[in-house]
Amino acid sequence: MIFLDPDKRVDLATAASHIGDGALLALGGGLSSRLPMALVRELVRQGRTGLHVVGSAHSMDVDLLVAAGALSICEESYVGFEQDLGLAPAYRRAAESGTITLRESCCVTILTQLRAAEMGLPFLPVRGIKGTDMRRLHPEYAETTCPFTGEVLVAVPPLIPDAALIHAPLGDLHGNLYLDKPYVLDERFAGASRAVIATVDRIVSTDELVEYGITIPAHYVQAVAEVPFGAHPASSYPNYAYDRDHMGVYVKAASKPESAAQYIEEWVMLPDGEDGYRAKLGEESLQRLTTWSESTETWKGLFA
C-alpha cells in the first residue's frame, strides 16, 4: 500500500501498535545484521501473540519471539546463530515439542512468492523444490505446466505480509530509509507488504538522507520511529557492529525455558522500554560497537 502522510514519525509503542495478534510479518535484515530488534522487543512488551513470520535467514529476532510465546508460525529459510553460537535454542525447543508450526521455506521460493505479490500476480512458477521434501512443509504449493516447453514446475501463491518490520541506520520524517548492503529481502518486502513499519537509529534531514541514497522510499512506509541502537544486538552499519557478546548472553539464557524467561524479564520487560534497555547495556558497551571503523584491529577486536 501507499502512505502519503508527509510526517510519519511516531514513538516505538505507536509503531508496534500497527501490528495485530496473528499478523503475518516480514522480518527485515538477516542473521546478525539490521534485525528489527526494538520492534520485536516492543511486540513482546505489548504481549502480541500468534505471529507468523516470513523471511530469509534470521536469528535472535525469531528466537526471542518464540521464547516469549509470541510466535505461532515460522516461515523463514533458516533460524539459527551460524556455526559460532549454533542452533536457535527457543526455536529448536518449540519446533521439537510442536508448539510452533514449521513452514520452513527456501530463499528463492520466498523471493518468488514476494515477487508474485509485488507484480500483482496470483501465482508464479519456481524452479527447484521437486525432488526435495519441501512440499511436505508446504501443502499449499501447486504445479503448473509451461505452455511452451511442457515442463512441469512448482507453482507458488503470492506472499503478502501484513507488515514488514525494517530497521534502517538512517531515515527521514517522511519515512524514506537508507540501508547499507546487504539489503537482503527488504526492498522486496516493501513492495509486497501491506505496510512497512520502520525503526531507524537516527532521523536526519531529507537532504542528508539523499546524500547517502534512499533504498526504500517513503511511500511504502506507514510509520517510522527513531530508536538509537534499534537493531542491537544485531549490527546496523555504518553505525555499529553486532554485539557478539550479548548474542552469546542471549543464546546461553535461551537454552532453558527458565533462563529464557529471566532474560525476557531482565532485558525486554523494562518499564522504560528501549531507554531502559540501552541504559542497562551501558553507554560504554554501546559506544564500543561504533568503533569498528577506527582500525582493522579495533574491528576484529569486537569479535575476539
Partner: protein
C-alpha cells in the same frame, strides 16, 4: 613448521575450485568461506568470488568475522549483488560452484539441514536450508563438505528430509527432474575426499594421512566404493597455510570442528616446488 587439521581441511576445500569459476558459499560456513579466499589468492585469481550472505563480488576482507553478514566481508569489493541478483544468477545457471553441507548427507549427495527424526516431532530441529534447496538444482557443480563424518550420524543411508538435491532422489534423478546443474562433484570430510561415480554415488578417492579406509567405512552409514588406489590427500603448501592464517586470524574456521579434530597436527614437509 607444523600445521593443524583445520588448516589442511580448508586448503583441501579450496582445491576443489578451478580458476575462472563463479563460486558461492552459504552463511554459517566458515571453512568454505576461508577456502574461497585461499583459492582466490592462490590458484584461482580470476574466479568470481561471491561472498556468502553479503553477496559481495571479489571482496578483500581484512579478516573473517564469526558471522556471515558482517560488513568486513564486503571490504574491497567494488560491487555487492542484491539478494535477488545472486539467486537469479544461480537459478539461470550463471554460478559454477557452491559449497554445501548438511546435518545428514546420503550416498547420492542429498543433504538434510531441516530436521533429524520425524518432521512432525523432530529429534533435532536443524537451522534450515537457507537458499540451498532451489539453487542446488541449477548451480554448475557442488562441493559438499562435513566436519562431522566421524560421528557416524552425518553420512547416512537415507536422509530423514531432503533439503538440497544430490544426484538421485526418490522422485528421480536430475535429468528426470529437469535440472540443469551438475550436482555434487566432490565431498570433503574430516576423514577424506569422495567423488561421485556414474550412478551418482559417493566414491572414496583420498584419505587424510592419519586416517585409514576402514575408519572411513565404519563412520559411514552408506555403502561406498573406493578408487583403485586411495591416495593421501595432498598436503598444503606453506603459501596456502600463510593465506589461511592471514585471512582468518580469529580462527573462525575452527568453530566447525569437534575439539578433538583440532588437535590433529602435522609437520610441514618442504616441497621443492614451493617458493616459501
Amino acid at each position: 613448521m607444523t600445521y593443524t587439521f583445520d588448516e589442511w581441511f580448508v586448503v583441501t576445500l579450496a582445491r576443489t575450485i578451478s580458476d575462472r569459476e563463479v563460486v558461492f558459499h552459504g552463511f554459517g560456513s566458515p571453512c568454505a568461506q576461508v577456502a574461497m579466499h585461499v583459492a582466490k589468492r592462490t590458484h584461482a585469481p580470476d574466479m568470481l568470488l561471491i561472498e556468502g550472505a553479503m553477496y559481495a563480488v571479489n571482496p578483500n576482507p581484512p579478516f573473517i568475522p564469526p558471522t556471515g553478514n558482517d560488513s568486513s566481508l564486503k571490504q574491497g569489493a567494488a560491487y555487492s549483488m542484491k539478494f535477488e541478483e545472486f539467486f537469479d544468477a544461480a537459478i539461470r545457471g550463471d554460478v559454477d560452484r557452491m559449497f554445501l553441507s548438511g546435518g545428514q548427507i546420503d550416498a547420492y549427495g542429498n543433504t538434510n539441514v531441516t530436521a533429524v527424526g520425524p518432521l512432525e516431532k523432530p529429534k533435532v530441529k536443524l537451522g534450515g536450508g537457507g537458499g540451498g534447496c532451489n539453487i542446488s538444482a541449477t548451480i554448475g557443480q557442488l562441493t559438499l563438505w562435513t566436519t562431522r563424518h566421524r560421528s557416524g550420524r552425518t553420512l547416512v543411508d537415507k536422509c530423514d528430509f531432503i533439503t538440497d538435491i544430490g544426484h538421485v532422489t526418490p522422485a528421480g534423478n536430475r535429468a528426470e527432474l529437469g535440472y540443469t546443474g551438475g550436482g555434487p562433484q566432490w565431498m570433503v570430510t574430516e576423514l577424506g575426499v569422495f567423488d561421485y561415480d556414474s550412478e551418482g554415488r559417493a566414491r572414496l578417492i583420498e584419505v587424510f594421512s592419519d586416517v585409514d579406509v576402514d575408519t572411513v567405512r565404519e563412520a559411514t552409514g552408506f555403502e561406498f566404493t573406493t578408487a583403485a588406489d586411495v591416495k593421501t590427500v595432498a598436503s598444503p603448501t606453506c603459501a596456502e597455510l600463510a593465506i589461511v592464517r592471514g585471512i582468518d586470524p580469529l580462527g573462525v574456521r575452527k568453530s566447525e570442528f569437534d575439539p578433538a579434530e583440532l588437535t590433529r597436527t602435522y609437520d610441514h614437509v618442504h616441497d621443492p616446488g614451493c617458493n616459501c
